[in-house]
Amino acid sequence: MLRVSLKGVWAHKVRLVLTALAIILGVGLISGVYVYTDTIGKAFDGIFADAYAGIDIAIGTESDFSFGEGTYLDEADFALIDEVPGVEEAFPVLQGMGVSVLDSEGEVLGSGPGPPTFVASLSPAESDGVSGFTIAEGAFPVGSGQVALDRGIADLGGFQIGDRVTVISDVVGRLDLTLAGIATFGEDNTLGGTTWVFFDLPTTQSVLQRPGLLSGGAVQVTPGAQIDEVIAGIRAKLPDHATVVSGQDAAEAEAADIQSALSFFTIFLSVFGWVALFVGSFLIYNTFRIVVSQRTRELALLRALGAGARQIRGIVLLEALTIGFIGAVLGVGFGVMIAFGLQLILPAAGIDIPTTTLSIKPRTVIVGLAAGTVITFVSALIPARRASKVSVMAALREDAPDPARGGFLRRALVGGAILVLGLAALFFGLFGDTGSGPSPVVYVGVGVGVIFLAVFALSPLAAGPVTNLLGTILERFTGTSGRLARRNAMRSPRRTAATAAAVTISITLVALASTLTGSIRGTIDEVLADDVVADVIVLPEGQFGDPTGAFAPEIADRVRGSDLVADITRVWVGWAILTSETPTTETVTETLITGMEPNLAEFLPPDAFEGSLDPGPGQVVMEASIAESGNLELGDSVVIEFEQAGEFPYTLVGIAEGPAWAGIIAIPSTDWISAAGIDQHAQVYAKAVEGVTADELKAAVEPLLADSPNVTVQTFEDLQSEAEAQLNGVLNFILALLALAVVIGMLGVTNTMALAVFERTREIGLLRAVGLDRRTTRRMVRAEASIVSVFGALMGIGLGIFFGWALIRALEDQGFTVFAIPWLPSSLSVAGVLGSLLFWLFATGILGILFAVYPAWRAARLKVVEAISHL
């Protein structure tokens, strides 16, 4: 009896550790993300409080645009502030983006997907810290030949006061300057890893091509003045789009902006933690289900001794609560360690994010503890209910079979009905007209969740045949151990299905990510290969990061200067708000707007078009699906609002179809330039003269742009491989985050196998007695784990492909015309292989083997004599 109970404790320990591990990992990821982003947020709070410390009142502007560059104030308006009573002095500031600093080699400093580069005016002020930055070394820049840099970038480039510094402006091109000063942000080298280039105000205005304009400024009030009154006075003098707030409010608002940007990041990352917990809930559910059926006799004995159903339920739920709570506590601790680790690792990896002491908010602890405990508790509800239904008679029966067999038809009907509901919700969300009801995202989310439920309800029906098939294949290679594994995997379809379910969820997401990337890659390849008639394209470096990235017009002139160039077309891209009105609906969207030349259609030939693709002033052309979603036809009017110039009426004169035009709304370049107030190109397409290849043209154009490292010349093959690399980068990032969910799903396999080995102790003893050696015993357990894992992966890949297909179909209007299932690796790189579905099918099989190493080892180590006399 002692031996039996010791073994009970052993099984209990493994169960506790593995169940708790699922909670720890999931809660750890969620609370780690909270702690880390809270810490960054706290650091920024401090930074902005410092930045605005010397400012009584901050002047800014607001804009209707979410993605635009911001609006401006006239210098003349700003000058009126001086007349307001209580104003001691007003300091104007102009700030923008679109410059890069070159190093001594002529390459862009600190390029890549890091924090952005800003350009700003910096003028001597009586009080330090008017813009947060002060000159720490050297002098303020004066005149068009002088520049100041933040200390971070100055150190990175090795610049000293008096050195020559080259800065490239997206609008005015190359500037050769002298470094007059080095600025610091309070105690810090710079603001949160960003790069800053400072000029005096007139130079800033000319570099940004915003003559006579300001972003805002700072005001100091006379001693004793009432700030509220001064604010009211200033507001009365300025146009409506100006904002006037106290320095303290401005600091809080800026910090809040950062917080909301961070919260997107927090939500995005913690989603993966929730997914991990969701996967973990299946593990927990399955563990308790198995434990309850293992303890049927023990529970029945308790019933016989007078325990009520509620008490039995209580016993199981209490155990769940305990494990959940312990796991959650450890998980929060693990999360703090993750955050601490990120603080150490990221700066070492060159990612300069401001930081401070770890910020552990009550919210983090509450959410972490509640998530872990509640999810464990809820996952154990059904098993607990089943435990309470154990009959007293079960105690007297010799064998305690897995209860609730059969019900095939009922399960098929109920599962099928749920599936239909889920599909209906999904398709309605994706393709239907949701009208004034909840947003399509809600329908899609509910649909996906319900489809998951349906698949899990139906999966026990498939578990038998599918594991049989998988096992039969395996049996070919492994003989008897394969047959035993196959039969074991088939013996409880519900258990197999529940174990596989945890694998299914994570593999669904992996397959969905792979299918989406595969389809996007297919779309890009199609567009680049078939639909663009150009040999090379000139782009800003890092085009994929910012669609409105641009470069100065001189670049196009130089490209045109090459003898090998037959023709070019220039493309301008910016943001606009498009309003299309029909008698019944009004559609308002903030969208990219393209400035085009008449020959654009020669470079991007549409599959078909109506009207004209050469719009005149006040005329717009667009891709067919955009027109469709706005219910627009040729000759209809739309209103286009530009951030700087305001609203203008336009007439739709052309509708183009085909992938090359996907997402394009275009107006004449002259309209674009006058509305934006600046002239800068987003892309330049070039065709080679007869007989010259794309590579030859690239080789000819590149030297012409050698001094402009902010642009890159690419053939379409280059673009294709760059797009591929970008996509793979995104996919790898998502896969890295999903890895945790995959691991937890596989831990479920470990757990089930460990419990199964314990349950089958006698059987294993018998097999060992009649001639199963240790190696084959291990192989048998691992093979079963592999079969169950691959079954889960098959369901996951199926679901992932289906969801991917549905999404791509729903996004067809946005230009996602290709649906591709990436069965095979797209390339022989690591990233290419990771995107392949067959790889994941194979990998889960291997992972199944790896995650069953421990239970297999336990099984092989069983002492034969003890095992056959095990009760």
Binding site: D399, G479, T480, R483, L484, R487, N488, M490, R491, R762, E763, L766, L767, R768, A769, V770, G771, L772, D773, R774, R775, T776, K863, V864, V865, I868
Partner: protein
């Protein structure tokens, strides 16, 4: 001694340490002759099951040597020992003899399948025919009666033509009819096919089917009896204060 199918020489088996130390076998020496049906009898705790486990290579001995034929088991690795068990020894346990996921037929051929040996179909047919399980071959163990399960186990023990079969209370859980059927079969296997069988039992009736009985008490051989019948056995057991 060379005619022995299996023998133990000065075997001691000790479980536990210190206060919980139990000597299950105390320098026991015993031999089981080829082609003989030997019964091992003794009261609970006499060491009869331990003796069987040690001689069948299921458990290791503390001291002494165990031989199957001329093979000293103590020199074998677990892998070689497993191979020896499936090739040279057959087992019939008291209960839980069959793998629940395999059909009767698959259970019978399990040791051969594990060894990768081809099944001798005519021998298989004759064994299952004799045991009366030929029409139950496709069934799972849960679909068989207790007597049928034990006869399937006996068929498994026979089908690989092992040098000897160890049976641990094979009829212990059966009613008298099923018990008699099984023991008759074991008896005839010895008579017709010169099969060596060692059966552990505390049932005088069952032991009555054997050629020879070895009596154990306190981990030692205390007596033996040739050509036993139930009356003599009961008398002997009485004299051993059983």
């Amino acid at each position: 001694m060379n005619s022995a199918a299996a023998r133990a020489e000065g075997v001691t088996k000790v479980y536990g340490w210190g206060d919980t130390r139990v000597t299950a076998l105390d320098e026991i020496s015993v031999a089981f002759a080829k082609g003989e049906f030997t019964a091992v009898m003794g009261p609970s705790g006499s060491g009869k099951s331990t003796l069987m486990h040690c001689m069948a290579g299921l458990d290791s001995v503390t001291e002494g040597s165990v031989f199957i034929g001329d093979q000293d088991l103590s020199t074998l690795s677990d892998r070689r020992l497993t191979k020896l068990r499936r090739e040279r020894i057959g087992f019939i346990f008291q209960a839980f003899n069959l793998v629940p996921t395999l059909s009767a037929s698959e259970n019978i051929t399990l040791p051969l399948d594990l060894a990768g040996t081809k099944v001798d179909q005519s021998w298989f047919d004759s064994v299952v025919e004799t045991l009366g399980v030929a029409d139950r071959l496709k069934h799972r163990p849960s679909e068989l009666s207790g007597g049928q399960q034990q006869r399937v186990a006996a068929a498994r023990a026979m089908v690989s033509r092992p040098e000897l079969i160890f049976a641990d209370e094979p009829s212990g859980n059966l009613d008298s009819k099923a018990s008699a059927d099984l023991l008759d079969f074991l008896r005839s296997a010895v008579k017709d096919h010169a099969q060596t069988i060692v059966m552990v039992t505390h049932d005088a009736n069952a032991a009555g089917y054997s050629d020879r009985i070895v009596f154990l008490a306190d981990g030692r051989v205390v007596d033996s009896m040739e050509d036993p019948n139930p009356e003599r056995i009961l008398d002997r057991l009485k004299s051993l204060e059983y």
